[in-house]
Symmetry: D3
Subunit: 134 residues, 6 copies
């Protein structure tokens, strides 16, 4: 299995709503350093997993929709705890949709799976990965 | 599959007992930067894989039992080479037991697997991963 | 010149009030990975710059007063842009005061200078350094 | 599953031959920081996955054959785009061959799989992994 | 003293012309991860050292002029060894000129000094720093 | 001012002898990731601060004399606490002597200063820097 990964980042405010989170129930924030790993069984004729320039642009576009925002105010996350692992899934779903729409090029439909990792600090990170059906 | 990871560290002395290890047969030591990755198929109702605060505390408690020690003097490791990969398994077994005892909260019994990685330097690391049966 | 550095982190929400900041005028947030570098011309009789355990505790105490908060609501920062470099100075002032109060031990009054660095992402960081008069 | 990883690096020139690569069609170059992860189901009698010294030497020998070269001039890569993911496969094939030849010691034939990751910058990397049949 | 740093990168081919460089006399290449540290005695009225967005853009523009090139073909470097430390000076001179031209905003003329660091691998880097006369 | 830095590492056992060190009074150990930064006002005729290959070899030779040892048994450190900052000075003194002996080439006598940093973990490090009189 081959993979290609790109890294970008995101800066948001949010709060959590349950007791388990302790002081993080207060409005606070995070920088998430975001890695997107694209996986594919074979390389295409050009020797690539995915056009890395388009992959980086697609990730940046998705992060831009979330960046510099208070996630507590986003209707899409109403009633949800926007934890690191939850947001990894959000980025996954949006990037998987971009792949299916052809934003990463026609060859990207051969991608087998995708893993999104959000680093919330130097000592904690979360991820979501799943098949893309490629 | 979702995951959450936490990082801590450990400083120990030890020596190895076989020829393959060359100068590391002498008593020496290591800092191990330790990552624990908890994996789970679905998030719980709060949107988490595991209570990250309790996960970090459980890891710290396990590392405290090993920290600032000469592992050659530990009865538990009698006759064993305490290599990086061997110690990854030790941390795995103790953290898996903590999960089963409920130290990470009742929801942690839904965890599917766990991966422990010990970084012994900027150019070498080892890991052990296995199912938790969650 | 000798130095000892310790690292910790901080997660906050904030917004900026001037045009130059563009989308960061919206309420958002950041994880700051914080390094405190303590400098001293000579080691003390025990061979140390500063008691590293007390240094780490003093830094953690200062970050705890800021952690998991919306800095826009903090009276201390009223009317100020809480930029990375501004916050580096805030941490410096509080840690310098802790040194002077003796929180890091009596030997810490020999410290010559202190540098605080806040990493806001993998691609941007800011710092403040100054003499401690030691 | 256990693993041991070692890191080294490589500095090469190359160019790409298709339109998708834009300015990287010009002759340019890269530093690749290379990680080799060796995986094995059980430890051997000495408590190791692989002799880490021999693993590091075998990786270095393979990288030396590529290092400080213009890959466009290498007959082995004639007509191929030497992308990060393509080169991850090249290193994999050569290291897998070294394992089979016994260069990493007789115990290395118990290795189950190998993953090679090439970091081309702080924001992009690629990998290839496959079974070693161990 | 305050500072703000931004990071970007650059991928080039080059060769060296003297014996001391051994195999690096052959045409090869490098990824340089480039850090620009801007220093200033006091913050401006907005609480900043420099407009970080404009600083990052100015650095990117300078790196774009060098990126994806064979430096042996650049007239500006005729007869020079484009070592890591030499290139740190090149980036310094061009970024200092951008500051003087006002590309980083009018406030940037208060900058006191600038340090450019180029990381050529995980185990080697070089830098150049000097006053900006601010 | 120009600089060039190289990184290597060291794995040792040791213990401390005073109360301030708490559990680190027990025999334990550390991996030290060691950075040596060589500084010089001007580049030489080849465009370098120092021959980076010889610099890396000289550092490795010095670390080899300490590596895989119990520092409590070294006569050179009798009665001393081998703290991170103390060891930074040891490496400095030995590397400065190598510079003076000409081990880094005749041009190295133009070096102005040297900084040695020892990273004992991902959250703590120490350094020593001083003039080389170049």
């Amino acid at each position: 299995m081959y993979s290609v990964s790109v890294r970008d980042h995101l800066m948001i405010a949010h709060s959590f709503t349950v007791e388990v989170f302790g002081p993080s129930q207060r409005l606070h924030g995070a920088t998430f350093v975001v890695d997107a790993e694209f996986r594919r069984r074979d390389l295409d004729a050009d020797g690539i997993v995915v056009d890395i320039g388009r992959a980086a642009e697609a990730l940046k576009a998705i992060l831009s929709d979330l960046n510099f925002r208070n996630l507590d105010d986003e209707p899409a996350f109403k009633g949800r705890n926007t934890t690191t692992e939850f947001l990894a899934r959000v980025v996954f779903d949006r990037l998987a949709a971009a792949v299916k729409r052809g934003d990463l090029g026609p060859g990207a439909n051969a991608l087998e799976s995708l893993r999104i990792t959000l680093h919330e600090s130097h000592v904690a990170w979360g991820s979501y990965e799943a098949s893309l059906g490629g």
